[in-house]
């Protein structure tokens, strides 16, 4: 006997029912919204995953020096200092998900019935009470005016059914039953996004890889520990572009090569907002810097003699080269990544970054010093030598590293899918509606009186405009015929 009544239910079943009702209620949802918001506020005041001193300092700015340390201990015990992956925050999200699932299961059958249920004719009395109601009268009678109304309804996108009884003919139609599901689509999308982010946390990683120009790696680092990539990645080159002559970077770019089992698979240049993906692992351009090891550097110079002949050479610091066709030699003495000149004319380095690379070269002819000076990569006017020869400073390769953010996130696809579903769901929820219209034809002597009644579960005003358009079509037809 499954027809149990309240009194026959044992206490266990009653508890289950209570819990179910709780999880199916909007009140619970609203409470969870509030709790997540309020705890998140605390989470934005404290700095997440920071050293204790930092947060104690923050707390003492608000609550004073004396209470801050003990308050910190309490908040730390409650995991507020790394709250977004704490057990209770995850639990909150799970409760939230359970709330959504149970609430939907609880309501879906009724909504599905509403969706499937098709429109039925109504009595004139009821029609007159509908929230949108219009009347008019058109010339013509019987079949002719019926056809006229059907075609007008079709023009505004409805295909009517017909019902006839003693009071006359009634045409009725509906649209957008399915839009009642919009809310559920939205709710479902929240679950999809949650699922995607959980998959990302458990099956993905977020690591960092600094890679010198010319260097190859088969791992990335997450909090210091290496994570194997399953292939090798090499940085072929790295470059920064600046806005005009300023030190404000406009663009920075790495040329990367992916190698699998010793063979090249992909070559791609990446920049901020344009990453490289291979085998589910994505490399993002995130930072850059100068490598501390200066012995790696190789210059790329193009040397022009006065007769226009040129050669490209690749010396290192300390090397000497010869200008073709002459006996002039240049010795590369030093390199400065960010050269500037102070008030007394002395050169100095103004930045750790390679913002203004410069090389000091001493030129000699037959062991005799001829001239010496700085050649600046960003200033071609410094490339012309006093005797008409020219040394173009094209590149200093191997001394910069590119900072790559390395991510594997198998859940990101679900997150984006969820976002798409959410947008669709919200659009349906707020901008579409279930619309019904009934039109009663009341035959007069040589015309037909009509009563239009209509309903929309949302956005009534815009449906009312549609109905006014319908009236307009009907009366315009009428005028056309008269």
């Amino acid at each position: 006997n499954f027809m149990t009544t309240e009194t026959e239910k044992n206490s266990f079943e009653r508890i289950i029912d209570k819990v179910w009702d709780l999880f199916a209620s909007i009140k619970f949802a609203v409470i969870i919204f509030a709790v997540i918001s309020l705890t998140s506020i605390v989470g934005t005041i404290l700095e997440q995953n920071a050293e204790p001193e930092k947060n104690i300092q923050i707390l003492s700015k608000i609550f004073g020096e004396s209470t801050a340390p003990s308050l910190y201990i309490i908040l730390d015990k409650l995991h507020f200092t790394s709250m977004y992956n704490s057990w209770w925050f995850i639990l909150l999200l799970l409760l939230f998900a359970a709330n959504l699932i149970i609430c939907s299961i609880d309501r879906l059958p009724r909504i599905l019935r509403l969706v499937r249920e098709s429109i039925r004719p109504v009595s004139l009395e009821r029609l007159n009470k509908l929230s949108i109601r219009k009347t008019t009268s058109i010339a013509g009678k019987g079949h002719q005016s019926k056809e006229q109304i059907i075609s007008a309804l079709q023009k505004i996108g409805f295909s009517p059914s017909e019902h006839a009884d003693s009071s006359g003919i009634q045409l009725y139609a509906e649209k957008g039953n399915v839009t009642r599901l919009g809310v559920y689509i939205t709710h479902f999308s929240v679950l999809v996004i949650l699922a995607g982010s959980i998959i990302g946390i458990y099956f993905g990683f977020n690591a960092y890889l600094p890679l010198n120009e010319g260097e190859t790696s088969s791992v990335a680092y997450q909090g210091g520990s290496p994570i194997p990539l399953g292939f090798e990645i090499r940085c072929d080159n790295f470059e920064v572009d600046f806005y005009g002559s300023s030190d404000r970077p406009k663009d920075f770019k790495s040329w990367l090569t992916v190698m699998k089992d010793g063979k090249e698979v992909i070559r791609k240049s990446i920049e901020v907002n344009d990453p490289l993906t291979y085998n589910g692992i994505t490399f993002y351009q995130s930072s850059y810097g100068s490598s501390p090891d200066t012995t790696r550097g190789i210059f790329v110079f193009r040397v022009y003699a006065t007769d226009g002949k040129s050669i490209e050479i690749n010396p290192r610091i300390g090397d000497t080269f010869t200008i073709p066709g002459t006996s002039i030699t240049g010795e590369i003495v030093r390199f400065n990544p960010a050269l500037s000149i102070d008030a007394s004319g002395r050169p100095f380095q103004y930045s750790q970054q390679m913002t203004n690379p410069a090389v000091y070269i001493e030129f000699k002819e037959k062991e005799k010093k001829k001239y010496s000076g700085w050649l600046l990569k960003r200033y071609p006017q410094t490339w012309d030598l006093p005797d008409g020869n020219r040394v173009e400073f094209l590149e200093y390769w191997g001394v910069q590293y590119t900072g790559l953010q390395v991510r594997k996130d198998p859940g990101v696809f679900l997150v984006y899918l969820g976002c798409l579903i959410m947008v669709a769901g919200l659009y349906i929820t707020f901008f579409m509606s279930h619309r019904k219209v009934w039109i009663q034809l009341l035959p007069g002597r040589n015309n037909t009186d009509i009563v239009i009644g209509a309903l929309a579960n949302k956005n009534r005003a815009s449906f009312e405009r549609k109905i006014e358009k319908l009236l307009h079509i009907l009366t315009a037809d009428h005028k056309g015929r008269a």
């Binding site: 949802a29 609203v30 919204f33 300092q57 700015k61 907002n273 993002y284 984006y416």
Partner: protein, 361 residues
């Protein structure tokens, strides 16, 4: 002509419109109303021209494509756009509901905001973008966030007006709530006004502006006396509004604005703002972060505050479905939601990054 001329014209126009709308409220002459609307439309047209001109200027300076050059790169440009959206939304409401009385509430906000923007020197300084900001996703994100914020601003004002109309006694908690909220809003705006008068500065970064100048003429002044006077003044504003707030009710109802209209506009604005904010504010922001940094969500304070804002409005949408919440309580939620918006935009920079930096002032 230079875009700042047009900005100037629109600022003045919004102030003139405010005067006209208020006189319209006082004298109830249709002609005055028509003048007020005309001035607002003129100001709006001028602001549109200003934004377009600035867009062209920016394109030339930044040597970038059209889309990338959209003038939405810093707080002040986005505030200009926000004001533009608010005025547009207001004009739509004026025509749809055939009611001019909201104008007296909206135009002063627009005028003050533009005046404040002018002082901060945004029209003088065009900065090229660092690489992470050169993204169409970011552009879409900022653009849509501000459209949503404009919708939320409308729901904030109608929500407040709803509470004005629906409260009776001075001791009622909800009466106290709305008078305090209105006061806080007026106090914030006047604080910014004083900054404007005092500093007349042109600073490049908005972080810097917010941290070093915002409310420095008043609440955060280095002179203790000024600070005390400011706080006393703020207290006085709260008291006056609390004391005389019930007059607002007569003004509003005198114009045939019923609480149903107000509730309707509040809901409709949020029904537009919520999806736009979801797509633009959260989803596009996440896509941008994903492409730029390799993480679609990092729980940094700004992101978290956007999410909190979103939860506030989700709270609003759902609490409407609860018995006993419809009406005043949900209007309170709508008002609080906009406070979360303001905090996301100003508070995170002003309060939180101040907290999170070592030393500080």
């Amino acid at each position: 002509m230079d875009s700042s001329v047009f900005f100037g014209v629109s600022t003045i126009a919004y102030f003139l419109a405010m005067i006209s709308y208020i006189s319209f409220l006082a004298f109830r002459k249709t002609q005055i109303g028509i003048i007020a609307t005309t001035i607002t439309i003129a100001g709006f047209a001028s602001q549109t021209a200003a934004i377009a001109l600035r867009w062209i200027e920016f394109k030339d300076v930044g040597q970038m494509g059209w889309l990338r050059a959209a003038p939405l790169t810093n707080l002040y440009e986005s505030l200009v756009f926000f004001v533009w959206c608010v005025i547009l939304a207001y004009l739509i409401i004026e025509f749809r509901y055939r009611n001019r009385s909201f104008g007296a509430f909206i135009t002063p906000i627009a005028g003050l905001a533009l005046a404040y923007i002018d002082l901060s020197g945004m029209s003088k300084d065009i900065q090229p973008l660092v690489p992470a900001l050169q993204s169409n996703w970011l552009l879409a994100h900022v653009l849509m966030s501000f459209i949503a914020y404009a919708a939320f601003a409308i729901s904030f004002s109608t929500g407040l007006m709803y509470l004005m109309v629906r409260t009776e006694k001075k001791s009622e908690p909800i009466y106290i709530f709305w008078t305090v909220m209105l006061s806080v809003f007026i106090i914030l705006l006047s604080g910014m006004g004083f900054d404007y008068i005092k500093f007349k500065i042109a600073v490049s970064g908005h972080e810097e502006l917010i941290q070093n100048y915002l409310f420095k003429a008043t609440f955060r002044s280095s002179s203790t006396a000024t600070m005390i006077v400011s706080w006393l003044g703020a207290g006085a504003i709260v008291f006056v509004i609390w004391q005389f707030g019930s007059h607002m009710k007569k003004v509003i109802t005198g114009f045939g604005i019923t609480h149903d209209i107000l509730d309707d506009i509040t809901y409709k604005s949020i029904a537009i703002g919520f999806p736009v904010f979801t797509l633009g504010g959260l989803i596009f922001g996440a896509i941008w972060a994903d492409q730029a940094w390799g993480k679609y969500w990092t729980w940094d304070p700004k992101e978290t505050w956007s999410l909190i804002t979103w939860f506030f409005y989700a709270f609003y949408l759902h609490s409407r479905l609860l018995r006993g919440w419809r009406g005043k309580k949900v209007a309170v939620v709508a008002v609080l939601g906009f406070l979360a918006v303001i905090f996301t935009y100003l508070g995170v920079n002003l309060l939180l990054s101040g907290l999170h930096s070592y030393g500080g002032q």
